[in-house]
């Protein structure tokens, strides 16, 4: 995972999730919205229970994320204008509060501070 202030702004934030997953909804959707808003970029939700979205999600996870036959969700990706896709976060299977902590740490991280932002803080 890389990001620097000299990079162009990221293009889109994508979250691969399922609506029944407590690590995903509402936790990761809310935090994803917060992250996307601070970066001034759109948020895309890919619901693995919807066939058309699942196809895109599977491809994204297989190529850039943590792929397993029954892969973990949520998985969060940042897409860049040069075509790069950066895997940012995978949910913590231990407990929902651990995934919540990961979101808090991510939003307070050096990595996030270094990202070029375009939205309201």
């Amino acid at each position: 995972m890389r990001g620097s202030s000299t990079s162009p702004r990221p293009q889109r934030l994508t979250i691969v999730l399922a609506p029944w997953c407590p690590h995903c909804v509402p936790l990761s959707v809310r935090n994803g919205e917060r992250l996307a808003q601070r970066l001034g970029i759109p948020l895309r939700i890919l619901d693995i229970d919807r066939r058309a979205q699942e196809v895109i999600a599977d491809r994204m996870v297989r190529r850039y994320g943590d792929w397993s036959p029954d892969y973990l969700i949520p998985q969060v990706f940042l897409e860049w204008p040069d075509g790069r896709t950066e895997h940012v976060l995978t949910g913590f299977s231990e407990r929902v509060p651990r995934t919540a902590q990961a979101w808090r740490d991510l939003l307070a991280s050096d990595w996030f501070r270094a990202l070029p932002k375009g939205g309201r803080r």
Binding site: G65, D66, L72, F92, S93, D105
Partner: protein, 176 residues
């Protein structure tokens, strides 16, 4: 047997996740037990006092995907080995920023060594052919060289461990 040889202590603390209760079984607090193996990473078994396993995880500081090695180790620990199914193993990469500032800076300094990979093994409750509910148990008695995973009805106790009963059959108590 080594466990933490190649896994930095600075990262171990940030990956620890104590707490929680046994979901849909007894609601008693989950205990996190560390176990050793030949692999260089750390193992954590999250189980209730009765031995019902919530999730088992293996964490390694590496670039590669350790899922295959994890599967083989778990198969050696399970009775029967077929308990470890491919789709119950799930990989997660921890990059650093989501682990807190200490881990983020530590991993940034050691980026050449790669990120942190975690493989989770979670077996959801299921029904056996006879219709009875089964859950994954672990026996961590000191007499075992390694943990023993097995399935049993949720009301069972850890003394249903096939490892313990096999040892009792193989090495009966000597008469004095």
């Amino acid at each position: 047997m080594t466990t933490v040889r190649a896994f930095p202590r600075a990262l171990q603390a940030t990956l620890a996740s104590p707490g929680g209760t046994c979901y849909r079984h007894c609601d008693r607090p989950i205990r996190v037990r560390r176990v050793a193996s030949r692999l260089p990473g750390t193992w954590q078994i999250r189980a209730c006092p009765s031995g019902v396993v919530s999730v088992t995880s293996y964490t390694e500081w590496t670039r590669r995907d350790p899922t295959l090695a994890v599967r083989r180790t778990l198969q050696a620990w399970s009775a029967p080995p077929s308990l470890v199914r491919r789709w119950d193993l799930r990989l997660a990469t921890r990059h650093g920023p989501e682990l807190g500032r200490v881990a983020e800076r530590f991993l940034a300094q050691h980026r050449a060594r790669g990120g942190v990979r975690v493989v989770y093994w979670r077996v959801y409750p299921f029904r056996a052919r006879d219709g009875t509910e089964r859950r994954l148990f672990v026996c961590l008695r000191r007499g075992h060289p390694s943990p023993v995973f097995f399935t049993a009805p949720p009301t069972a106790k850890t003394w249903g461990c096939p490892g313990c009963s096999r040892r009792a059959r193989v090495a009966p108590r000597r008469a004095r």
